[in-house]
Amino acid sequence: MKFVCSVCGYVYDPQLGDDAADIAPGTRFEDLPDDWVCPVCGVGKDDFEPEE
């Protein structure tokens, strides 16, 4: 499932991962490390919500 940053609108897509943070494609949002942050605005995982 995709998750959306409630601050800046960035969408975490598990199919893409997050290359800049060495997150491999296929990584579920739930499996991201606790210190992972939004690559656009820098907030933590707590500020993300499941995409409707």
């Binding site: 601050v7 800046c8 609108g9 656009v40 605005c41």
Partner: protein, 403 residues
């Protein structure tokens, strides 16, 4: 201060801050303006306000057009205090029927001005609002440059009120792009982009694609700082397109060298590296951080392909001036450029490693490693510095040749 009539029933309210020189750590050697806009008609509508402390000028200009309490609505495109600082006073004086803003901006305004019971009317991205004399299309432009940033597009006029985007810090009596020095206008716009918008370059690319897809007719761009782009709005759009490129090959054949020095050893290295780039026919600019403000250095970095930073080792680290510059640059993320690190040392020589760590976090790869010289560089050391510049230059030249 005088309001500027842009066209029938539309005004700019340009609060001019002639004497500001430090804008939260960004050097503004020619001041700035905080622009609001006023649409008049059967509904009078104010777009943004200005910085706190300028109320006399701001409401004085509005009073030359209409009594401020005749304003019906306020649009808030951005919560930052240089544009919303007069909002509490404006709401008090105007008692608007509605304050139009995005949900995110509403939260940010509440977090700034605490506990106000203001008549917010939350708008969604792309929503159209009929203000009787004209229609406003409200566009959310999140992270350009705050989460709350928005544009107000006056559909019938083809006028984009663009908040901080396309702006520049420059106090001028001329209020349009065709009334000021053209080269200086680009210089100030470039500085604004490098120091405010650079971390969001990829979002700017997306925004430009979106506005092109929407086929927005843009006759004028009205930013919240600086002059109105009326003669040639495409000029700044094209420059934004260029400045927001992510790839190394889009950069100029240009190297920026910044450094500090204790006993001129690191400076000798800086001169030799500068010479090395000149020998490769690179444009090169050498900037001692004691003489050059961090925001000027960033402006030079914007179109450069190579950034080399130098510091002697001081107390097992780097000099505070270099730390300041690297900390600033790290946040602005000038990726898609080649990095280099150099510095003299006495015994332990940690400076280049620390510079390299900052550079990596700024998104700069360092394919040629670092170069250091003990105490005072010898001629052999200086020749290595010239060669180091040649190696960095070669990396760029090979890249653009596709090797």
């Amino acid at each position: 201060m005088e309001p500027i009539k842009i066209k029938e029933n539309l005004w700019q309210i340009p609060v001019t801050d002639w004497n500001i020189r430090d804008f939260h750590g960004y050097s503004v050697y020619s001041g700035t303006t905080y622009n609001a806009y006023l649409s008049t008609g059967s509904k009078n509508v104010l777009f943004d306000t200005a910085k706190k402390g300028f109320g006399e000028h701001f409401f004085g200009m509005i009073s030359k057009i209409i009594e401020p309490n005749k304003i019906d609505y306020i649009f808030v495109n951005h919560a930052e205090p240089d544009h919303s600082g007069l909002l509490p006073e404006a709401v008090e004086r105007i008692r608007p029927d509605k304050i139009f803003l995005s949900e995110t901006c509403g939260k940010a305004i509440t977090d700034h001005y605490h506990g106000k019971d203001w008549p917010f009317e939350i708008l969604k991205d792309g929503q159209e609002v009929d203000i009787s004399s004209r229609k406003v299309v409200f566009l959310e432009t999140k992270m350009l440059h705050w989460p709350d940033s928005c544009f107000s597009y006056l559909k019938d006029d083809g006028i984009l009120i663009s908040s901080d985007a396309f702006g520049h810090h420059w106090a001028t009596s001329g209020r349009y792009d065709d009334e000021v020095n053209s080269e200086e206008l680009v210089r100030h716009s470039k500085k604004y982009f490098a120091n405010i918008l650079l971390p969001f370059a990829s979002l700017i690319k997306k925004l430009l694609r979106r506005t092109a897809d929407m086929k927005l007719k843009i006759n004028m761009i009205c930013p919240d700082h600086g002059v109105i782009w009326r003669n040639n709005p495409d000029r700044i759009i094209n420059l934004y397109d260029k400045w927001s490129e992510s790839k190394l090959e889009s950069r100029e054949k240009k190297a920026v060298i910044f450094y500090d020095t204790m006993w001129q050893s690191t400076e000798k290295m800086a001169y030799a590296i500068t010479d090395g780039f000149k020998l490769q026919n690179f444009e090169v600019i050498m900037m001692n951080l004691r003489a050059n403000h961090r925001s000027e250095v960033m402006t030079e970095i914007l179109d450069g392909a190579i950034v080399a930073a130098g510091s002697p080792t001081l107390n097992n680290g780097i000099m505070p001036t270099v730390s300041d510059m690297l900390c600033y640059m790290r946040g602005l993320k000038p990726s898609g450029r080649i990095g280099g690190c150099f510095g003299s040392y006495g015994w332990s020589g940690e400076s280049v490693k620390e510079i390299g760590e900052y550079m990596a976090k700024a998104g700069l790869e360092q394919p040629c490693g670092a170069i250091k010289a003990k105490y005072v560089p010898t001629e052999e050391d200086l020749q290595k510095c010239r060669q180091y510049a040649a190696d960095l230059a070669e990396q760029y030249l090979n890249h653009i040749k596709g090797e």
